[in-house]
């Protein structure tokens, strides 16, 4: 092997194992570092004209900063303040939510379920992580986790308690399974002491977790 007498005579060395050549490592795409794999995919798709890298940045910015649970909070506040809107929301959630300007990917086929004094509802996606992006943003880490997805089905009360939500034993609990055909959002109970509050003030009481159903809306000037 002319010129290759010293296997470690690279001009840079990564330590005891030496610098294993990239070619040796790349026998299967699963062996490629995930960050590299994703970068390579992006470059390939861009070269083929299938994606625009700048559009990707815009998508990330949009979902990180522009959509989020404040949108859903506006929907809930409107429903609390306006009985006719609430009726439309419970009848055709996708259309009622679009009235406020919120629509888009993962916002189709919305169903809103109302919490009452006797029935508490919460949402999971047992299959993967279906979640109504336009009103709630991207799902939190725990929503996508296996413990949540499995435990909330078997023992929702203990999961609720882990979120600090202690319901009367007489309260019925219903767990709704979102998927790509139907995405659920919870309409939390309107807290006591909120008569006469503006929609903005009401929206400030609506948390992301209360629209997933793992907690209740906040009460004004106090603990949840």
């Amino acid at each position: 092997m002319p010129g290759h007498h010293h296997p470690h005579d690279h001009d840079h060395d990564h330590g005891p194992d030496g610098d294993i050549s990239a070619e040796e490592m790349l026998t299967s795409i699963d062996a490629v570092d995930i960050g590299v794999r994703v970068k390579a995919l992006e470059e390939l798709l861009a070269r083929k004209g299938l994606i625009d890298p700048q559009a990707l940045d815009a998508v990330v910015d949009y979902y990180e900063h522009k959509v989020g649970p404040r949108n859903g909070a506006r929907v809930v506040a409107r429903a609390w303040a306006d009985p006719a809107y609430k009726q439309r929301l419970l009848t055709d959630a996708t259309a009622a939510i679009a009235e406020l300007g919120f629509s888009g990917a993962q916002g189709e086929h919305m169903v809103v379920i109302e919490n009452t004094d006797s029935v508490h509802n919460l949402v999971v996606c047992t299959l993967c992580s279906c979640y109504p992006w336009p009103v709630l943003g991207l799902p939190p880490v725990w929503y996508k986790s296996m413990p949540y997805r499995s435990r909330v089905v078997r023992d929702p009360r203990s999961v609720l308690e882990e979120f600090g939500t202690f319901l009367p034993e007489t309260t019925e609990i219903r767990v709704w399974d979102s998927n790509s055909e139907i995405r659920y959002m919870i309409l939390p109970r309107r807290p006591p002491g909120t008569e006469g509050l503006s929609e903005d003030a009401l929206a400030a009481l609506v948390t992301r977790d209360s629209m997933i159903g793992v907690s209740e809306a906040l009460t004004p000037g106090g603990a949840a």
């Binding site: 795409i29 490629v32 990330v60 299959l127 993967c128 413990p147």
Partner: protein, 108 residues
Amino acid sequence: MALPELDAPEAFAAPWEAQIFAMVVELHKSGMFEWRDFADRLSREIHAHPDEAYYHCWARAALDLLMEMGLVDEAELLAQSLAVIRYRAQDHHHVARTTPITVVSGRR
């Protein structure tokens, strides 16, 4: 089984997570596939690898779908990965630099 990070605020733990997320959203928006086609694969990955990080499953589901659609193949992805690795190796500084590499003195 405890629930992870109830207060974790970040949607993405690393830049590549955001990138693969956005790629799937963009390709779907441009009509390349039905959301359901992706969601089914994501679900399969998550169930096959329950302990794996969520966006790893997302990335595999995306690759699986794109390969099946013939939009990319493994050979070209490997070749492109190699190009990425080489490119990144070029600007590795293997010696820690403990002093500033540029100093522009201020006005007196």
